[in-house]
Symmetry: D2
Subunit: 286 residues, 4 copies
């Protein structure tokens, strides 16, 4: 999908006429809609939308639309955002000992598959340091021991804030986040868990899967919340395994699932395609 124009995202109580009013604002400014996604949740009577608007994106035009949407949203009691596309969003990556997800994100960023800028990679190990250097991405080593965990997370939080990150991506970071960290970056911390949740939450999921003897393994990209591996799921990926696959094979096959699910999840997030609704997500995929 094209990365041009403006993207409008909103959620609010459902009501008769809401699509007409919302799209009418865009039409009144003489602008074309390149993409329209809406969803009405029957159970909760809640409405979700994402519009991509063809706009030159000059300041005045954007400001006028922003004002229009602001009035509309106030009436509709909506949460909303309007953002100019074409400027990569800033994403801070948290890493640990495994390098495959970080490598993948860096490659996709460099070659235009992922419209992000990575101002900083933070890790409690040095496995990704060389990789970051080769790509010219600043690397920060924040050791994590039991006695300094909270201080370490305070430091990470400061850097994420300073970097004006619109997402904090746990690329196999493997650390349980403090509750205050989840709250501070609510809806912005994306984790990749190496199982198809809710199966095999917690530690060493490939070993759990191996011992259970499942015939499919997978990975889950989800928003991190205070409760471990229980946040809203953005995307999942699976692959078949057979009896002859050893634990090492599961890890190898699973890495491809992790790469794919994380890359998709991050892309959906930074393209404003994801809306969180309680413990679930609405994902307006392309």
């Amino acid at each position: 999908m094209s990365q041009e124009g403006l993207v409008f995202k909103m959620s609010c109580p459902d009501a008769v006429g809401i699509v007409a009013r919302m799209t009418g604002l865009v039409a009144a400014r003489g602008l074309n809609l390149a993409e329209v996604h809406t969803y009405s949740d029957v159970a909760t009577k809640w409405f979700f939308a994402r519009l991509r608007i063809e706009a030159t994106g000059n300041g005045e035009e954007t400001a006028l639309l922003e004002r229009d949407f602001s009035h509309f949203a106030a009436e509709a009691r909506a949460e909303w955002s309007l953002r100019r596309l074409g400027h990569p969003q800033r994403v801070v990556v948290l890493a640990s000992k495994e390098t495959h997800c970080v490598t993948d994100l860096l490659w996709r960023r460099k070659f235009g598959e992922l419209p992000v800028e990575i101002p900083l990679i933070i890790s409690n190990h040095r496995a990704c340091e060389e990789l970051a250097a080769a790509e010219g991405v600043p690397f920060l080593h924040v050791p994590m021991q039991a006695e300094n965990r909270d201080a370490a997370f305070r430091e990470i939080a400061r850097h994420c804030t300073a970097a004006q990150a619109s997402a904090v991506v746990m690329a196999r970071f493997m650390q349980i986040l403090p509750a205050w960290f989840c709250a501070q970056f609510h809806g912005c911390v994306i984790n990749i868990h190496h199982s198809f949740l809710p199966a095999f939450a917690g530690a060493d999921p490939y070993r759990q899967a191996f011992e259970r003897g499942v015939k499919l393994i997978g990975a889950t990209c989800h928003y991190a919340t205070e409760e471990l591996d229980a946040g809203p799921i953005i995307d999942q990926e699976v692959v078949r395994v057979e009896h002859f696959h050893e634990l090492g094979d599961l890890r190898r096959l699973g890495r491809d699932c992790e790469r794919l699910a994380l890359a998709r999840g991050v892309r959906y997030h930074v393209e404003d395609r994801v809306l969180i609704h309680g413990s679930k997500t609405i994902v307006f995929r392309d």
Copy 2:
């Protein structure tokens, strides 16, 4: 997805404000939109939409909306339809020697997965006759020899018209349709071809696949057009195969692809989810 209310489907040249006007008509009648799907094709500047409208569906309400849409469509130079859901569409099934697709369609119809009525099964063989009888569906045997082909198709066409069918489904019918038949039922004849088109068009695709040594086989559900196996594709399905699979295994594995792709394709069609655009389809999946 719910099968209630009204469904509006349209396509027309793209224009600023078209979504707002279209949805505004529904809002003006005080009706809620349960589903909104739109697509703007950049290359051809063409617009496609499907709305599911929450409506009690009484006659007056429908008539008013119909008038509104009619005026709107005239202005927008749109092709359109408005239909009440909850009344199964009528589908005539053409069959031959294989029974798996017919069995599958009959089951899905009976148990509510497929909102269709099947007023007639027509076949040039008698393989499905007993099956039709068991389900209480009329069966018509129309033999096909080289010398009577055109007359046979004239008979089939008469029955399809008399049955007021909104789709003619070739459930492994295996006959090449005359050009006039394709023209008469343009956009309404759904075929299942037992390969992932455009690979292995024509006769005995499993044998072709077996001889080529592919590692994936599949099935393609598409609208039949005058050119064999070249019509707009609605859906496709694939399955992995390996060197130890014999031709019979390919046929067995392929049948599951055929069942799934055909059932999805028919459902999309009868739920007004498919719009044809040249040699392609827009499919507003659920």
Copy 3:
């Protein structure tokens, strides 16, 4: 795969030379091996094999091979079986209110995809009665109330034994089996659970999946054991779902997973392709 000849299946402690000795017995009788599958489990040092032997299958030949294998197995401390293919195995089906799995098994049996004979369908409801009659399969209604559960299962067990069933297939039977029943038919009771286990074990897994907001749902074919939904997994199948899929859509999409996973699992079982190893299975797929 061809359904001719003899199939030999065994498991025993791994040892140097075991493949050579086992296949040597077949060679010594001048017979060809059509399929050879072996697996050595490193962790438990256990060996598993399945041979398909090209044999006319006359009585004498089979008797001689049986004697050879018997001596060999005694030495190797092996569990083993030798069976003539081409004679469908007998499978008793347990059903309840849902008909899709039963319909699917009946079709596959009838049209040669599944080499089984179904001498009896037993159900605690009458939903499948008409279906069974149409296919000429005896149907037994065994009501199940809290107070008569054990007696009901005693009756089912008697019928399974009398039918000389080599498998008891729970085609959405939805009843928890008594421990004694699992023990009596150990390794022969095949269940289809409508989730990708171990996620969503227990009641109403589609609702659980819907509430958790997963992006993939699935089905698991496994051997029933005393512990609910915890037996050795034979096969699994998944399908993608999105935020707009309602609970009814999950059930509809899931049914296709159930049909496929169950049909594969039953076929593997009756073709002697499955060996149970603790809580896991070895499946020599074709």
Copy 4:
């Protein structure tokens, strides 16, 4: 799967007793079989096998086995090889303007997913030069114009030979190989074509797929032969696409298919899991 011991690979006319004799040689040396894969092609009466033998791999042991297998192969008129695992095979990579496949192969090599050494990357463009340098892999720029094509391929051939490459991997090399080159490196040149062959052979397959309106796109890893895109297929991968995916989206989604199919194909090749049989492959997957 473990990368230890010896791997024996062979193909020959099928015969009674061949498995017993082949595995008997290993047993006679007191060695254990870690993996046994065989396949008998019914149509051509040809036999294929791959054995992984648990061996310390000291020189004497290997030499004895080599002699045993040599005698056996002469009698059986077999093509065969015996190779010590644990020493990465040497793979020369041919690249052009696209970097994703090269990046992926380099990562998998570095982190142990792919047991290969890459002594050289050769390219007719400089897009991968920096990438090669960062990974410490020698890079050779061989420009290709119409007038020097044959000379350029002579140079590439010399380097492949000098590098003692057991595979030449075309990682989106996009050049048609001369017939003599295919002949010289017969069964060793692995290509990734960006469609599910045989659909969309030749130039710009994503555009072809886009214009045809298919609902699945894919990639094919195959051995290059003189006839373009017609060589024996090793593996294929597909991904669903929808009407809203533009040509650029197809390229993006397809790249993931290419990466996966190529990485698997190369791994199967260097682990001696692939045997070519006419225009097809036998792939003893793990």
